[in-house]
Each structure stands twice: as C-alpha cells, then as structure tokens.
Symmetry: D2
C-alpha cells in the first residue's frame, strides 16, 4: 500500500485525490493546501484524509511514500525538490517546473536517490493519444508530414503564466510522446490584448530535420472551444478532435501520390504530377478508461519498480525547454530559437 500525499487542492487536485483514492494499492494519506476553504472541501469529500496547510508537514509525514505536486508552476521545483530530499517519490503537474535548470536539478536529485520522478502529462494516458502513438510507431501514417493543433477557448486568464505555458504544454507533451524525432528550433508570436495581463494568444512553430513542421495555436480569447489537431502523413492522415464524443480520432486513407507519366520523347518514365488519392475514413474504438486512472496506476507500478515512467523527468525537461525558448522568441520578436539536441 503506497501512501500518497497531494499538495494543492485547486482545479486539478481533487481529480488526483479521487483517482488515487479509488485505486487498489494506494491510500491518500494527506492533502495540503494553503487555502482553508479548499481544505475544508477536501475534508468533507474525503473524510479519512488528514489535511494540513503546511507542505513541509505533509512531506515529513511517515504515512506519505509519494508526493503529488499540483500547485501553480512557480512552486513546483521547491516542493518536488523537498519531497525528493525527504526520500519521497514524486508526481508533478505539468509544466514540470519554471525553467529547464530547475527540471535538471529535479532529475539529478531523483536519480541520485533512485526515486521515481514522473510528470503529469495527462494526454499521453488518454485512449486517443495512445492510439495515435501506436499508429505512428507502426508506420501506419508513413512519414509524418505535420502536426497542426488548435487549442483555443474563452478562458480565465492565468496570472502567473502566459497562454503558451498554459495551453501549448499539452501539445508539446503529446508531440514528445508520439513523434520519434525531436524539434531542432522553435519560434513563437504572441499578443497581449488586456493591459497588465499575460499574453493571451500565441502561435508556436517547431522545426525538425526534414520536411516536418509542428504548429500550435493557443488562445484564451476565442468565442468557441476548439481542440482540433491535424496530423498529416505520407500514407494516412488523422483528425484528432478531443471534444468529439463519437469520433475523437478519425483516420483518413488519403494522400498525394505522384503520377508516373511517360515523357514526351518516350525514352524515360519519371514522376510528373502530384494528384490526390482518397479512400475510406474510420474512427477506431478507443480505450475508454479515464486517463488519470491509467496514469495513477502506472505511477504506482513505477514506484513498485515494475515499470519505467512513460512521462519521466526527461520528457518534462524537454517540454519546459521548448516553453522557455518559445517565450524568448515571442518576447524578443527574433524568430527561430535553436533547441539543444
């Protein structure tokens, strides 16, 4: 039985507590939040759980074997670091930390102490992204041509992070999980419509070696909620719409093919014309299990030493590196920023 301590009971914390509560092999021992009202709600909803406003108290609790950090990003490093230093395994919300440097220090600390350090890149545990990853890995799309994502809505403005850190993090985590290649440069353009607030809409582009492009549109000021991703490949193409209850993942047997035409002098046959090829579309049945349940179960297996984290510290670091570089590109207006390989 793994004792779980959850720090942060705001928007996502209750989902974490609920999922670990309902899992065999885990027990939520303590919940921490600075806000008394939230703690009260936690106590009412999960009566057996100890509550505290002091993170140090939770981390020191001998009932707590693993700490889940679900606070604003600014405190991720400090809390995760303290937990690791106290010998506790850690599952930390995305983005992993405020800087690549912080991420590296957490990875080192976990490595030194042989503790599990996992990042809550939730989308990687959905049935939809899991299916897409399988298809790409199996070569069903052929060469991946592009990943284009629109992730917009009318959102509450975040105070501490811009729209890229809030929304792009999801697509960057997905890209990190499904693509065999890593981006070599990033650029971003953004704009602030409300004075004194964070940048509320942005476009982020990732360049790779070879003819592959990823592009993300993030927007807190859109009249409608859109979560739509197009993934183009040389053999097949995907439309992934996270809001479509019936057809989250649609696979199109479509593409462009070269038409071989004999040249006029009749001596050679060569490629002459691209033309489109269209075939069936299908929507595969997806694993219906809640992503967070799959992830919590995986985290327990990692703590037990039976599995390796799919979304480990290294993936968290890669995502934060891009967020840092994109923010730099956006603020300087200087275009492409190279990423370490």
């Amino acid at each position: 039985m793994v004792g779980i301590g959850v720090i942060g009971y705001g928007y996502w914390g209750p989902n974490l507590v609920r999922n670990f509560s309902e899992l065999e092999g885990a027990r939520v021992a303590a919940v921490c939040d600075r806000d008394a009202g939230r703690l009260e709600r936690a106590a009412r909803r999960f009566p057996g759980v100890r509550t505290t406003t002091d993170p140090a108290d939770l981390i020191a609790d001998p009932q707590v074997d693993a700490v889940v950090v679900a606070t604003p990003v600014a405190s991720h490093f400090e809390l995760a670091h303290a937990a690791l230093c106290a010998g506790k395994h850690v599952l930390v919300e995305k983005p992993m930390a405020s800087s690549a440097d912080e991420c590296r220090r957490l990875i080192d600390e976990a490595h030194r102490r042989d503790l599990v350090l996992m990042v809550d890149h939730t989308f990687l545990y959905t049935g939809a992204v899991d299916r897409i990853r399988e298809m790409i890995a199996a070569g069903e799309l052929g060469d991946v041509y592009y990943y284009d994502s629109v992730r917009v809505n009318l959102g509450l403005f975040q105070r501490d992070v811009n729209v890229i850190w809030d929304l792009a993090v999801h697509d960057l985590a997905i890209l990190d999980g499904i693509l065999p290649r890593r981006p070599r440069a990033v650029q971003a353009v953004g704009i602030r419509h409300v004075e004194g607030q964070q940048i509320d809409m942005a476009y982020l582009t990732l360049a790779f070696d070879g003819p592959l492009l990823a592009h993300l549109h993030m927007n807190w000021l859109a009249p409608v909620k859109i979560r739509q991703t197009l993934i183009g490949g040389s053999r097949r193409m995907i439309v992934y719409d996270d809001l479509d209850a019936e057809q989250k993942v649609r696979v199109y047997d479509k593409g462009i093919e070269m038409l071989d035409r004999e040249s006029e002098d009749g001596r050679s046959v060569y490629k002459m014309l691209a033309y489109r090829r269209t075939g069936d579309m299908w929507a595969p049945k997806l694993r219906p299990t809640e992503a967070l349940e799959v992830e919590a179960r995986h985290f327990l297996a990692c703590v037990a030493g039976r599995e390796k984290p799919l979304t480990d510290g290294a993936s968290g670091l890669r995502v934060v590196r891009i967020l840092e570089a994109a923010t730099a590109s956006m603020e300087t207006g200087n275009g492409w920023v190279e990423l370490p390989s």
Copy 2:
C-alpha cells in the same frame, strides 16, 4: 449593352461566362482559351458566343468593351495590359499579377486611359463577408483583436504558384476589405513535402500597429476541407465558417472584462482581474445572392461610371505586395518583412 470578352475557360472561367450571360446590360461576345477542348465545351454550353484561341484576337474584337482575365497568374499582366492599351475595361482574376511592380503598371495604365480596372476578390461580394464588414464598420465588435483563418483541404497541387498565392490570397483580400487598418509587417513559414513541387503548407502572420494580429493557415495536404475564421473583438466575436450552410456567420456576445476590485488598503479602486463574459450567440440572415452575380453587376455599374470598384487595382496591389513579402519571408527564413505604409 456592355460586350464582355473572357480569356481563360478553365476552372473559374465558366462561372464568369455564365454570370455575365445571365445579366441584363451585358453580353458575352467572345471566349478565348488555348485549349481546343475547353473552347468546344464553351461553344456547346454558350452557342451564341464567338470562340478563339488567340487573346489578341479577342482583345481586338470591336464587340468587346471589357475583358475578363481568368488565366493562370503568370499571364495576368500581359493580357490585362494589352486589354487596357486597346482601351478595354478589365476585370482580372486574383492574385492581380505576379508582382507588385506589374500591379502598379496596370494601375497606371488604367488611370492614364480612365478605364475601369477591377480585381476579382470574390469573397468581398459574398453575403457573409459583406455582413462582417458592416459589423466591423459599425463598431459592433469593438476593437478588433485578431483574425485567424484556417483554409485547408486535400488539393490538386498548383504548378505555377505556392500554397500562399493559391489560398492566402482569399484571406488577404478579405482582410483588405474589412479592416480599417493595414498590416505593417508579414512573416511566413512553409514546407514542401513533395520534391519538385510547390510549397504545400504554410503559416502566414501579419503584424499591425497596436494589439491586432492576423494569422492564416494554408494547406493542400489536409485530410478534410476546413474554411474557418475566428475574428475576435473587445465587444463581440465572430466565427465565420464558409462550409456551414446554416450558420456561415455566428456572432458571440462574449468577451473578457476587467473586474473592478477594491485594493487591500481600501484607498483606491482599480482594475484587478480579467474575467469572461458570455451571452447569446446569433447567426444573422445573409444575402443569398451568388457573389459572382453581385460582383458582375458591380463591374457593369463601374464601367457605366455609376460606381467605384470596391476591389480596385489598389486593393489588388496591396494583396500582391503581401504575397511577395510572405514568399520572401518563407524562402529566406528570416522572419518579419516590413510592408510599405
């Protein structure tokens, strides 16, 4: 009765011939195309019309008062110029010409001879764009925050122009028609997936003075056809979906507002927090007339001296300037290219 000569009977030419044929006050006198098969189809479909494979022949025809140029862009300048020099009014397909320089020379020629020179920016004549322009002009959106357009499909690759010249031209013409401000810089990123072919997907960003951004996604390699534009304003927002038969234009009474909160020391009241405001959505009834009919009628009125072209040579030039600059940005990879004010 205005005699019309149409050069180019490929994809769009038949629509032009049909519309001018059915209009009172116009008569299609001649149709020209280099392809004999196409001319034969024109003759079968519109039996009273003279056909010729020689543009000079059509331009010289005394029955022809106005020439419509519907050929590939490379020949726009030469044909339009010859027509103007022969004293004929001109309606030319978009993009207006291959370069800003060519556009300027056409404008000068038309000006010198006091002839009508109009560009077929068809979308400006649709009920949807017309309604959007009215709303923006009347201040119903408040300050315009952004224009974001996705114009993608699985298309036949163009041989002579890249995806920007093929698809972005529509949005650039719309922007030119509906916004009171002109962009000050453009940047574009594109990619070529099929060797030896044109760039098939691209993202184009336009910067303006003030917090306004326009962004276009063009793609010939998308599995589905999407024509969706989000237009954000400080008071209202629009979703314009050209493929939605029932709700082409949806207007959302939504936005972000500042919450006035008293500060902690109780001495001053100031803006503290953005929050979202949501209200009704409505889809206004749109003028159902075919855009090309409205445009053809307008062209005749311009020829008769009763109206001034809504989509004149100057607008065609502004669009081509952006296409040129965007292509330069895309090919050099150097980011922002300034636009003349």
Copy 3:
C-alpha cells in the same frame, strides 16, 4: 435543517445524495440500498451518512424528514406510500409509479397528510427547458405546431420496463411542463428485436385538440446517441439538442406566411399561397446551474412551505397515464387510445 433519506443508490442515487449534501439547509441523514457493495461505496464517499439495507428502517429514522425514492419503478408506490404514511415528505423518481392508480393513491395520501409529494422530472429544471417554457408562455413561438423528439442511443436494455417507460418519460414530462394544452389521445408502435427482452424501439404520437402533434422516437438500438427536439410554431421554431454543448437551444425566426395576392378579376384580395419566411437564428445563453441542484433547492423550499412543486404528483400522474395508454396501444396494435381530460 431538513434531514434527507435516500432509498436506492444505483445509477441516479449518488447524484441525489451529492446534491442534497452540498445544499445549505439539508443534511443527508441516511442512505438505503439492498446491495451491500453499493452501500459500501456510499459510506466511503459520504462517511457521515448512516447506511442501511432496510427501507423501513430509513423511513422510521427520526433524523429523516423527507424521503427520496430512487429505486426501480416497481417499488416506487410501496416505498413512497410508506414514507407518506410515516409523515415524511417525498421526492420520487420518474416515472412516478407503475400505474395511474398507484399515482392517484399517492396524491391522495400526500393531500390527506398535507405533505409534499414531488416527482423528479429533472429536465424541467434544466436551463434549456426552462428557457423554452418561458418562450412558449410569452407567445414568442406563436401557435405551437408540433413537438418532435428523437431520443435514441445504444443502451443497456432495461429488464423491468420497455423503452417507452425508460425514454419517453422524459419528453412526456417536458411536454407536460411547457405546453398549455393536454393531449387527448395517444398511439404507439413498437418492436422487440431480442427475444425475451423488452420492446426496444418505439414511436409514440400524441393528438391534441387543434393542429398540434407531438411525436417521439425512442430507441435502445441506435448506433449513435441523439437527443434532438424540433418545436415548430407559427412565428418561430426551436431546435433543442441536449448534446450540443455550445447551442443547446437554437431559435429560428422562420415560418410560413400567406402571400396576399390580388385575384385575377381585380375585385378582391385574398390569401393565395404559402411561402417561407427566413430570418436570423440565435442561441440564447442558458442558466448553467446543474438541474438537480435547482430541483433539490426547490424541493427544500416546498418542504418549507415557501413554494409549490413545479413537478407535483398531478404531473407525475398525467405522465404515467400516457405511458399506460401508449403501452396498451403498442401491445394491442389498435391505434389511438383516448386520454382522460
């Protein structure tokens, strides 16, 4: 503080317990279910609540002032009756009981003892149906022409009731709440595709005095989930789609109007031709509160004597009468069955 006892902790029970738990002025004192596993889940989730497998025990509990009956329909009468006889107020799941006769006996008992008897016709408490009722009451639709509902999905087959008792009950409750008129006859056609199981698809038609028709399609064997209702009126029309997150209620300013044309002899003007009239569409903003919260609050206000039940025993009786008559029509194949006025 009203003490609530909930009998039945299956599909809907947990929602009832959660809503009454979170409401000021109520306290869930006890939960009863025959299934030990379910009771355990209730105890884990709501630790302060007493659990029991014996309904009589719950009903006799002095902490319980009001009993919520959320069991299969066969036991509604017995449990609600026992609760009323013990002097407890009652909120009973829909359909109210197995027969009109049972409904009448419950109404009488509640009346005799001056207790609140309310039926959980949940849809009446949604923002969508509330808005539709307001519009009809205000005459915004003009004369109501028809109500056409499609309520289909791939469902788990019910063992104790056919598809009409399972699905039509929702629309019959909505109709009872939004229309000023009562139906005068019903007919239904249904079919059983799986031997030994309940009728799994059915069509139900309601006749009214005057040119108004209501028609319901219920289906447990549909490949997709559809919840779509068309409501036609002489002035406006509504499409109510309960699965559309953005536009649950769409109002169309459309209709048919008579064209007044002068007759040929020029002596009289009279109606000659119906033609269609089309205008704007809009989707009003709806109250976002969870229906069950609104309903639970209303129930407490009724218990306190401050309000009268919107969905009282009489409405529950009217709905069950139609279910009985429709089942009779369906089984005999004899068509229309008159309803008491």
Copy 4:
C-alpha cells in the same frame, strides 16, 4: 444515337436535359413546357434543341425515340401513356403516377409494346444508396432491424400533393431498392397547419413480416433541413446523412449481444442479458458520379436492350401503392392499411 424528348422544364427538367445532353449516345431533340418563359430559358441554354408548348407535338416528333416526363404527377399517366402508344420508351418522374391503377396500365402498355418504362427513383443511383444496398445484400448488417428516416425542411408547399407524396416517395423508393422484403401494412398520421393547404407534416410507419419496422418523418415546416436515416442491423448499423459532404454513410460495428451467464444453481448455461457491443466506425469512400448521370446512362443501356431497368414500372407501382394506402390511413385516421403481397 437515342433521341430524347423532355416534357416539363421546371425544377428537375433542366437537370435531365443537361445530363442527357452531355452523354455520348444520346441527343436531346426536343423540350416541351407550357410556360413560354421556361421554354425561352431552355432555348438560351441549349440552343440546338427544338422547343414546343405542345406535348403531342414532342411525342410525335420522329427525332424523339424516348420521352422523359418531368411534369407534375397529375399528368404523368396521360403523357407517359401517349408516349408509349406512340412507340416511345419512357422515363417518368417519381411518383410514377397518381394511382396504382394508372401505374398498372402503364406497365401493361409498355409490356405489350416491348418498350422500356423506367421511373426516376434518383436516390437508387447515388453512390451512398448503392453502397448501402451492396452491404445489405452481402449480409454485412446481419438481419435488418429497422429503417428510420427524417426528411424535413422549410419547404415551399406543394399545391397538388401532400407532404407524403412529395417527400416520402424518396424513402419508399430507397426501401424498395435496398430491402429484400416487402412491407405488409402501412399507417400514417399527418396534420395540416395552414388552412386550405396540403398536409404539411406526417409520420409514416411500415410493418413487415418479422421484427422489422420502417418509419419516416416528413415535414415542410421544419426550421432546419435534415436528411438523416438510421438503419439498424443485428451485426452492424448505418447512419446515412445525405447532407454530410464528408461522411454520407457511416457504418458502426455496434450492436447488442446476449451475455451467456451460468445460472445460480450451476446446472445450466443460458442467455441472460443483452449488453452492448461497440467497435470501430468507418465511412466508406463512395462513387462520386452524379446520380442522374448514372441513371441516364442506365436508361440508354436499357433502351439499347443491354440492361434491365433497376427502377422499373413494377417498383414505381409498389411505391405508389404505399403512397395511396398511407394517404388513406392518414385521412381516415383508421391506422394500419394492408398492402397487397
């Protein structure tokens, strides 16, 4: 070369003329309409074609080998009969004639003279219906459980026929073409909302031997256009949406299956519970050719004796028989009307 004469140049006539004009092996020799304005439009559009206001004139024309009747239904019999008597093949619009008796007389006449008599049940020639028919014929759906169609819009009221004759005719023709079984009885309910006009909305139900039901909803007073058909089968299910450009036919690998559970005494295994089975969905690529082109080509092949009409006089008769019986059911209010087997 088959000479075609088209009588009736209203809504559908121009499509017929255009398709036969563009087909090799056919020549439109003459067009007839009582309305001079329409004839003028025909002459302008198809200059080589002879026009006349007198049907007898067209029928007697020696250039005319086959007559296409595209007039209102009241005149179908008279015109088609005259054409057959003059030795001309006939393609007649749906519904075939005003009564089953008229249909039989046309069939007899064509049989006696060994002429082709075909009914324009256009939907049978679409890629979508063709694919559905193939799937049913190949047993891919298993046992067909139901056919449920919604065919509604805001329509111009027909003067001479009610909504069943106008809209249900499409579904009855489709059913006739795709199902191996014939209905044994029909009932219909309809309503007239505008005094002095035809019945504008109706529901029609068809009973078959065995657990199969067909149900049609027709409505001229709906705020939105819907063309949606659900076809349920024991193995697979179909959603056919004629307005969906991307996914006209969706096939669902879904259904209900019996769960074999051991009984409590452990002595026997028997079917206990229906449960739902869900799998992939796919949208097969459909033949894109315009239905009327396929049909016109087929008609020419029938005239040439190479093929037998898919939509022959007998199918036209079966459809009209149901329309007659349904109208009788609707007007008398007496429910089921038996159909001849």
